[in-house]
């Protein structure tokens, strides 16, 4: 039987570990691994909603494509029965367990998706135009101001776009296996500016 090269030395905390951070007028880097918890439960069910609210000590957003944050967590609206909670990677099991306890036998699902997605940070004066190279959504600040979030696409990759307070920095969450595709696409878009 042939032996299998498992590449055991690579620590899988980065999806773009062999891409060098881009510096200059526009910057691109992968953020350190964060904790991500996918929460399913009907937001229209008052019992489920208040139990979840209690468990995570913040009111989950019910308006499509919005987020809420406190010092510990950010919660994104993903669908009428779905949220994504982003936290410190060390907090995932504690928070997940708390949600499970509060929701008990109510119809719900809590899934650790920390290593299913990664987040790229893009910054620079023309970052909006760079994203629009692969994303069809209107990102003009008049309709998509700082603090806005949206689920959309970049090329073939589904992304969660989070516009930061300074307006020209973006957190782009993407599936782990699409991260290098997104990275290379953004770098070639920078070259074409």
């Amino acid at each position: 039987m042939n032996s299998v090269n498992t590449q055991a030395n690579i620590e899988l905390t980065s999806a773009c570990y062999d891409r060098k951070p881009v510096t200059g007028e526009h910057t691109l880097q992968e953020l350190p691994l964060s904790g991500k918890i996918n929460i399913r439960g009907d937001s229209a069910n008052a019992e489920i909603f208040s139990a979840l609210e209690k468990a995570i000590s913040i009111t989950p957003p019910v308006i499509p494509n919005t987020k809420v944050s406190n010092d510990n967590v950010t919660v994104y609206w993903m669908g009428p029965d779905e949220w994504l909670l982003v936290c410190d990677i060390d907090q995932v099991s504690t928070i997940s367990e708390k949600i499970r306890q509060h929701l008990g036998t109510l119809h719900h699902a809590v899934t650790d998706v920390s290593d299913y997605y990664t987040v790229l940070q893009l910054s620079g004066p023309q970052s909006e135009a760079l994203i629009n190279r692969g994303c069809p959504q209107d990102l003009h600040p008049s309709v998509f101001p700082a603090g806005s979030i949206t689920q959309t696409r970049f090329g073939h990759a589904s992304i969660l776009l989070d516009r930061q307070a300074d307006e020209t920095t973006w957190h782009i969450q993407v599936r782990w296996t699409y991260a290098e595709y997104l990275w290379d696409y953004l770098v070639s878009a920078m070259d074409a500016l």
């Binding site: 499509p64 993903m78 669908g79 009428p80 959504q137 949206t150 689920q151 959309t152 589904s158």
Partner: protein
């Protein structure tokens, strides 16, 4: 390129969506009592109208929710989109602007 209104996210580019055929097909309650022909109809046979079509769409690159749309297969005009479980909206296919071309002014 045209815009499609997701019942949750609002108007988005067409390329964020995928279409998945005829809507409002109800799964038979007693499959074991159906004839092979009736079961075949349920599984395989779909309407292919020229004009108004009620169909299923999914916002694949957005909220990933399924919904229904009433679309004109001749003009590609989408009259309405609505959430699953909601009744079919009444559509006027003689609408002088968005109806079938033979009825247009």
């Amino acid at each position: 390129m045209f815009l499609i209104k997701c019942p949750w996210c609002g108007e988005r580019d067409q390329s964020e969506f995928h279409a998945h055929g005829e809507a409002h097909i109800v799964r038979p309650e007693n499959p074991d009592q159906l004839s092979e022909e009736e079961w075949g109809d349920y599984v395989f046979f779909r309407k292919n109208p020229k004009g108004l079509h009620y169909e299923r769409w999914v916002h694949s690159h957005g909220c990933r929710r399924w919904f229904n749309a009433a679309r004109n297969t001749i003009t590609d005009h989408i009259y309405a989109t609505y959430k699953p479980g909601e009744p079919k909206p009444e559509i006027d296919v003689n609408d002088p602007i968005h109806g079938n071309p033979e009825n247009q002014r």
